[in-house]
Structure formats: C-alpha cells, structure tokens
Symmetry: C3
Subunit: 192 residues, 3 copies
Amino acid sequence: MTPDALKALLLELRLTREAELATKFDRSLPFADGLFDRWERAKRLGFEAEVSIYDSACVFGDVRVGTKTWIGPYVMLDGSGGGISIGATCSISAGVHIYTHDTVLWALSGGKLPPRVGAVAVGNRVHLGSQSVIARGVTIGDMTVVAANSFVRDDVPPRTIVGGVPAMPIGHVEGEDAAVRLVFGQKPQPLS
Amino acid sequence: MTPDALKALLLELRLTREAELATKFDRSLPFADGLFDRWERAKRLGFEAEVSIYDSACVFGDVRVGTKTWIGPYVMLDGSGGGISIGATCSISAGVHIYTHDTVLWALSGGKLPPRVGAVAVGNRVHLGSQSVIARGVTIGDMTVVAANSFVRDDVPPRTIVGGVPAMPIGHVEGEDAAVRLVFGQKPQPLS
Amino acid sequence: MTPDALKALLLELRLTREAELATKFDRSLPFADGLFDRWERAKRLGFEAEVSIYDSACVFGDVRVGTKTWIGPYVMLDGSGGGISIGATCSISAGVHIYTHDTVLWALSGGKLPPRVGAVAVGNRVHLGSQSVIARGVTIGDMTVVAANSFVRDDVPPRTIVGGVPAMPIGHVEGEDAAVRLVFGQKPQPLS
C-alpha cells in the first residue's frame, strides 16, 4: 500500500467512525479518541471497575484509580515520581494535569540537578475542574472541588473548595450523598 | 498486513504529510491534525461558511457556530447539557473549553446526583483566549475578550474584557469595525 | 482493505505498541505520541541536539530550540508572527502555549483588522510550567520560572519567578548550577 492509499483509507475510516459516533452518542471526537474504547484502556491500565480514560490522555509510572472515576481527554497523569492514587467516583476533567515530579531545578541548573519528586493522593468523590494542574507531593482530601484552570501546590483538606493560581480555599462542602451542597463566600486565604 | 508493516507505513505517511505541510503552510502538526481537512470537518458538523475546526477538538451534543469563526486544536465544545451557540468571526483559541454541564455534585455525592446543566451562548466578534474555560450556563456578549487561561463562571456583558481565575472585568472595548480599540486599566471587580 | 479491517489493524498496533511502552518505559501514551519518535521529529524541525518534541505538539512558522530542551505533549509553538527562539536546557512543559500573534482585534473588528504580531524570546535554563500561556512579543530572561496555568503578557527579567493570570513576580532565583535555589515570599507586583 502507498502512503496516499493509506491516507485515503484513514479518511474513509474517520468518516465511518464519525457517522457512528454521531448517531449513537451525538458527538464528534478526535481521530484516535473516536477509534479506541476508553473502558478497555482503563482495564489494561489496571484501573478499577467502570473507569474510563480517553486515548488522548497520558499515563506515566504508578497510577491507581478507583471505581467509577471518569478521566477525560488531554489529561496528564504523571506517576513517574512516586505514584498517584485517585479514589472512587472522581471527575478528572478534560485537560487536568497531575504531577509527581517537576523539572524546575533541573532547568535552572542547566541539567545538573535532578527533578524533585513526590507522590500525589486524591481522595474519593473529588472534582478536579478542567485544565487544573496538581503539583507533585500534594494530598487532596475526600469530597473536595478544584475550580477549572487552578494550580494546586498545597494540600487541600477534605470538603474544601479551592480555586485560583495558586489555588486558595473559596468555600466548603456540607452534607452527604444526595444532600451534599456547596457553600461559597469565604474570602480566599493561602493554604499554607 | 502486520502491525509492524502498518507502523512503517504510518511513519512514511507522517513524513510525507509533514513535508507537504512544511512547504505549503510552514507548519508541523500532530498526526491526525495534519491529515484531515478542518474546513471539511466543520461542514460535516453543520457549522456555517468558512468555519474550520482541528481534528484534536471534541464536539458533544448540540453546537452551532457562525461564519468565519476559527476553532483551534485541543478545543472542547461540550453542548451535551443544553447546547452551545457561537456567533460569527469569533476566535475559539487553542485549548478553549466550553461546557454546558458539570459533574461537581455528581462527584461529591458519589454518583447520586446528576450533572448540573445550562446552555451557553457566545455572541459575535468574541475572542476567547487560549486555554480559557467557560462554565455551563454562561452568556458571553458580542465584542468581548476573555484573556488566556481564564475561568469564566459569570455572564460577560457586551464589549467587556475579562481575565483571571475566576474571570473579572479588566477593561472594555470601544469603537466599531476597523476603529475598534481596547481600553484597559479598570480595577478587577467580581461579575456577580 | 476495508475501513473495518484498518480499524482492527490499528487497534492491534495500539495494543502492541502499548505493551512495548509499558515494558520499556512504564508509560501509556496517546496513539500517535506512542507511535512516532520525538527526538527524530525535533531533528526534522531543525532543533538542536538532544531536543525532543511529542507528536501532539503544534509548531508554526519560525521556531528555534536550543540543546537538551524538553518539549511536552499538547504544546503550541506558534512562530508564525515573528519567530520564537528558545534557549538550552529549558522545560517547555505539557500544554504550554507560546504565541507570536493574537486575533483579538481581528475578532472584535469582524475580520477587518489583521492579527497583532511580535517575536518571542525565551532564554536559557527556563522552566515554563504546565499549561502556561506566553503572549506575543514577550521576552523571558535566562533562569526564570513560570508557574503552571499562568498567563504571561509582560517581559520577565532574568532570575525571576512569576505566576498567576496575569503572571506577576512571586520570587527570584539565586545561585548557579547545582547551587541554584528558589526564593519565594515576595508580594505579587505587576510587571509593567
């Protein structure tokens, strides 16, 4: 087969798959996200039952994910520097990045210093908003919320709502199960 | 064909396509973004004339887009929770995410509460800066600007410039057509 | 070959490649990032020795990159409006966007005004944090740090740590090579 013939066949596959996804799921996905099953990928990664992870997500090193957690497209789960554990029924929204290493001192030293590392733990029932970034070494408690586009560099206590760059507490979570509710209005204060 | 033969052929196609894009458009794109026509995809999605959308963008549910609007790579248009309407001549910059649902209460309740939903409307002549996130239920007026990496959770009145996490007004837009201009200097104030 | 046969073969290739990457590098990558060599791509783009760039990164126009600089997935290097030069041993973290043009006035004027342009220079030993955005026309000095999710719209002097939307100085860098260290604690002040 020539490269041109492969290109034509890939386009035909894209159109076929696009039509299927439009009919069945009312969506249009990037080529590879539309092609490969995201529940099957989660199983191959050893994640627990009913977890799904899009093709466009990256997974490095030791990453464990609890049941029913949803992992979106463009997500980075970097467990290379100590491991990431994520609990059950979490939203790891599209574009979330979780790191267990950083190369700040590596870059500043011209490659003379190693990366800094630290494990990350995310509790149960946690919502990480779209494109938020979680820094190495951070622990995020159960039933917390991180606003979209936040940068979390400090531990987040359970039932806390944080937001901003850097993320600071902006509210808390009351109640349980179907009676859970968000309480906002707190003046942002540094976490550490 | 063996998987290894397919891999070799895909690499040959990547190199061929890369050379074409370098010569014709002075660019090097991700594999699928470089392979599939972005104006054709916009037509298949029912968007209006002269709209383009990269392969790496996701589109869910009911999304309408007006003429000449540009939609970049890594974009998320989630119209699954009520529909997104975007006007004409907008910049939906690379990495912009627009949502009509969120899973905050779903996660906090351990899956007992449904997603919260709300339609999003983006006016005409709007610039959404790179990697900005627009929350469910938000209306963004005509001739507005959202700074890069902002998180917009409140309505944005016409001719307003907003920025930050959460986004607050930082200026306004004066004039019309080629005489349009940005006026900065306003102290940030909450939108609601 | 039918589209369905190609789909089956692509899945077989994905699984084969995934198993190889898991064994050799303890990682699971998006389809195309896992398929194509990122050091080879950097060479084809004319970047200097020991540079790597993921398949999912976009490169437009004139972009030069110095030795040992690491360029992650989902990165946007838009040199279409005046060129980007990046020094040696930099971290261009996952999801970083560097622009040399913006379409703010293009959108607001309904397409009557052209993009605004400006070259970007990034020095040596610079760390750009994940998903940070660098605006057109910005110069970023040697040995600087940009926090994750920041939006940099002003020049950054050498040895400065900046963060936020917009990014403001939050510290500085002392020492050299393996004795380099971060000094935080500064109250954020506008850069201009």
